[in-house]
Each structure stands twice: as C-alpha cells, then as structure tokens.
Symmetry: C2
Subunit: 315 residues, 2 copies
Amino acid sequence: MSREVLVESVPNFSEGRRMEVVDAIEAALRVPGVLILDRSSDPDHNRSVITVVGPPDAVLEGLFQATKVASQLINLFEHQGEHPRLGATDVIPIVPIQNITLEECVELARRLGQRIGEELELPVYLYEAAATRPERRNLAKVRKGQFEALVKEIGTPEREPDFGPARVGPAGAVIVGARPFLIAYNVYLKTDDVSIAKQIAKTIRESSGGLPAVKALGLLVEGQAQVSMNLTDFQRTPVHVVVEAIKEEARKLGTEMDRSELIGLIPQDALFQAAAYYLKLPDFDRRQVVEVAIQKAKARAEEAGEEPSAGGQPG
Amino acid sequence: MSREVLVESVPNFSEGRRMEVVDAIEAALRVPGVLILDRSSDPDHNRSVITVVGPPDAVLEGLFQATKVASQLINLFEHQGEHPRLGATDVIPIVPIQNITLEECVELARRLGQRIGEELELPVYLYEAAATRPERRNLAKVRKGQFEALVKEIGTPEREPDFGPARVGPAGAVIVGARPFLIAYNVYLKTDDVSIAKQIAKTIRESSGGLPAVKALGLLVEGQAQVSMNLTDFQRTPVHVVVEAIKEEARKLGTEMDRSELIGLIPQDALFQAAAYYLKLPDFDRRQVVEVAIQKAKARAEEAGEEPSAGGQPG
C-alpha cells in the first residue's frame, strides 16, 4: 500500500442535467481499483466533474470506459451550457498523487489519448504538460471557439489532432493532459469593494507578472470582496506564500484579509508546508509526521519481504 | 488498510550500554505486524527507547515478548544510570493512532499489564489514563524513590501492584499505561538569557496554572534560550496555541521567538490544525486533504465489499 502508485483524474463531462447520463458515466468509471472521491454537476454549466483516484492502469481504463459511454450518450450538436467545451468528455487531466512523477503522468495521458483516438475514433488534443505544441499547453486556447468552431476548423493545420481522426462527430473532441495538483483557493477581504479584490488578483497572478503558477480573479461573493484562485503548482508557489502576498497587498490598499476558503481537495504536503512556515520549523521533515513515518516503515518492511500487517496474536 | 486500527507504543528499557541486549529486546518486539519507527539508546541514562506502531494485538504481543526478554537480561540490582527507573522494562505507554480511542487503549494497557503480571510474575503499575488510583496517574509519582525504594516498600498498601506479585526481583516492576500522543516541541528565543525562557516556561505550563497538557522548562541550549516542552494532548492545547502564547510572552519580556524544533514525531492532525489556523480556514475539514479522502474512499469501498486496489487492466 505504501509503495502504491496513485494518480488522480478530474474528468469533465458536458452533461449536468440528465442525471441518468452522469450515473452511466460514473458506473463506467468504476472499474476495480478506481475510487470516486467526488462528483458534482452544474445544470447551468450543463457539466459534471468527477474526481477519481487509483493505480494508473485502473484509472486509465475507467477514463477510457467513461469517455466511451459519454461519447454515446452526449450530443454536442444539441448541447447548451455556460461553460466552454469541445466534447462530450471535454477535459481529462492526469495528476500525480503518490510514487509517480508529472513526467510519468504525461506518458499516461499520451497512452490514454492514443487509445481514445484509435478505438473510439475521436479527435484528441494533448494539453498542459502533455502538450506537443507550446500553443496547446493552455487549455483555454485549445478550447477556443468551442465545439462549434472546431467543427469548421478541424481540417486546418492548427487544429490537427494529436491522436484520432481530423473530423468532428456528435461527441466532439477530447482534451487529455497531465498537470500538477490544482488547489482551488479563495481569500475573502474585509471589504465590499470588488475593485480591491481585482487589483490584488492582478498583482499576484502569473499572467500579470505576479507569482508563478497562480491564477486569480477578483469577485464579489455575497457582498464580500474575494480573490478567487487556482494554485496550479503548490511546490512552486506554496499556499502560504500566496496568502502572505494577499495580506500585504490588502494592507497597502487599506483593508485586510478576512478568511480563506478551500474548494475541494488539498494535498497534505501543502498543509505541512504552511504549518512548518508559520510555526517556524526550518528543519521540519515530512518523515517526522507519524502517518508518513508509518507509510515509510511499511514500505521498508515490504522491501525486506516481511508481512507488515499480519493479523492474530500467536502466543 | 484504511480501516486498520493502529496504536503506537514507546517502551523504555533500562539498558543503554550493552547493544546486544537492546538488539535482543528489539528482536523480541518484532513480531509480525509490528513496525519499528525509531530506536535510540542513551549510555548516560543507561536507557533505550523504541518506537513501534501496528495493530493492537501485534503490538501487545511484541511488548510482552520484549518485556520477557528484558526481564531475563537486565538486573536492576546492578543497574546504574541518570534516568529514574523502576524496572528492566520501565514504562510502556499505549497511544491511539488510527481508528481507536484513548479509552480502548486503556483496555489494551490493562490487558497487557495483567498478562505481564500473571505470566512473567512481575509487579505491574497502571499509569496515566489507565491508572486505577488518582495518585498513580503521574508517572513521576509512580516512580518515586525508584527501584531501590520499591524493593523496601512493595509490601505497603500504597505500593500494592495493579497486577502481579507484591515482591520485587532483579527485573523490578513494569509501569503500563495509556496516553494521547506526546509531541516533544522546543521553541528557541532570540536571546541568551535563560531566565526569560524559564519565566515563559512557568507562565505557559499547566503545573503553574498555564495551558492544559503543556509541560515546559527553560533551558540554555548552545548559547540560546529555549523553552523545552512536552505537549501531552494536542487536541486540548494545539501546537499553534502554544507557539502564539510563547510569542506573546517573549514580546512582553523584550525578546522574540527565533524558531521551533520538533523532536521525534508529530501527528498529521496537529499540522493540519496549525495550517488551518494560520491560513484562516475556519471551514477546513480534514476530509479535504487528498490523502485522508483517499483513505476514507478506500474504507467505503471495503465496506461495500469491493476490491479497492485491483491490479491489471482488463480491456
């Protein structure tokens, strides 16, 4: 268990209204070994997101089967929703969780993309770390003009798929890639002035020259200014670095941070980083965490050929 | 694995010089299922401490076997060392780690104590949460006068053992109990004035009316004032509460905190608590931690009778 290789995937499907369709997709995803961590559907976006985790082979098989079912049950020529999309299974990111690198996840993404292209005969685009062209790293650019534009442009060199045929059917195209764990993190300010949140977002986000691997928007949420973020690589820019930057900018603009909000999941290492920073533990080592130490000891016992979790009491 | 019940124990043996004796004790502890997380010997104290973790039955069996070996190889009539002790196996705490309560660990401690008393014919005293008398909760009081006093006093009502005979042989007595996880945590100050560390220690420790479950001493370590602590129940008084209290006292006394130091292990929940506090995440739930969510999903899959970690790719 401790040497177990785990990847996460958060496939996005273009169906958020017909629950029987989402149920069928989830059932296809549930191959042995795949754990469903979360599922949420948004009727306005007409889109569902399912979070799965498991060993790479199992997750890839589940993703393939789910993509197949979605391609049979969702017709993009009839699909309407607020969220941009290219296909029935719109995006499939492969995310390293345990005992696997991002580079290995790139290989997994390409393997899955190839299989979808060949066996389901859908056009497949590789994105982020798996991209084969620089301009395809950015998901928004791959999805530009959405399904409706792709139908017209699929024959152009810019739109040539990485795998599968250069033609678009009712299931559209599938975007497959690999990326680090994404933390969806919001900071509320003690003000109702959204312009301050917008200003802070602009200062801290990478696209305006701010912190690497930080995407940020300023919003007004239930009357309170909020800096809404995606932290796309917490090893490059830790959560506490972002929070401290926001605190400082807020002070400059005459307000202060109220609280944070975590949407979905966060890796334990991101919290260990923050705790060690604030507690001023310069020599902290994650192997000092009991649960991590137990995992390491189990791995050593397994390597030594011992049986680490035998049951009964012999004597 | 995820529903696995895990306890920790940190047995203390009165031998820190003859490594062949400590090796024999460790070998006895290594029954199937028991993981050795750490082992350290102090020749001045003439004492060794081994940290083990595993399922309760396996840990109890290992502790019994190690106590048996120690009772055969260590003679308290000949033992000298700086650290107070009552017996060859001096103290055995049982600590809840996963899927088990402190109350259940009390039962385990009593089961182990009874077996040691009956099968090894050693006097056994129960301490901390397992104590049968209020005055035996405190380990230092149980160990008062050490082995040498116990030899004379074992026949008195105050010294009546909880299990085993009221007589002392060369192996002395064994003190068995249950307690929450103990965090050994030090805070260095930006001063070489040890009186400030002593003053802060006095202010924050429970015994002087400070924070619950905090033991503290002021020391001078390599020319730097240090508040040296045992946090005996981080659910009652979290690490970050202690650190913030020290920061405030240090300010009052004209200095400031330099850094912290963690000796040994810390439970992940203590770090999650600290991260959530400093990041101002009032709605944080440990189930939002990826690794915790995976464990929970595995437990659900096991309950549903599924095979959560099957291997190969069927199609």
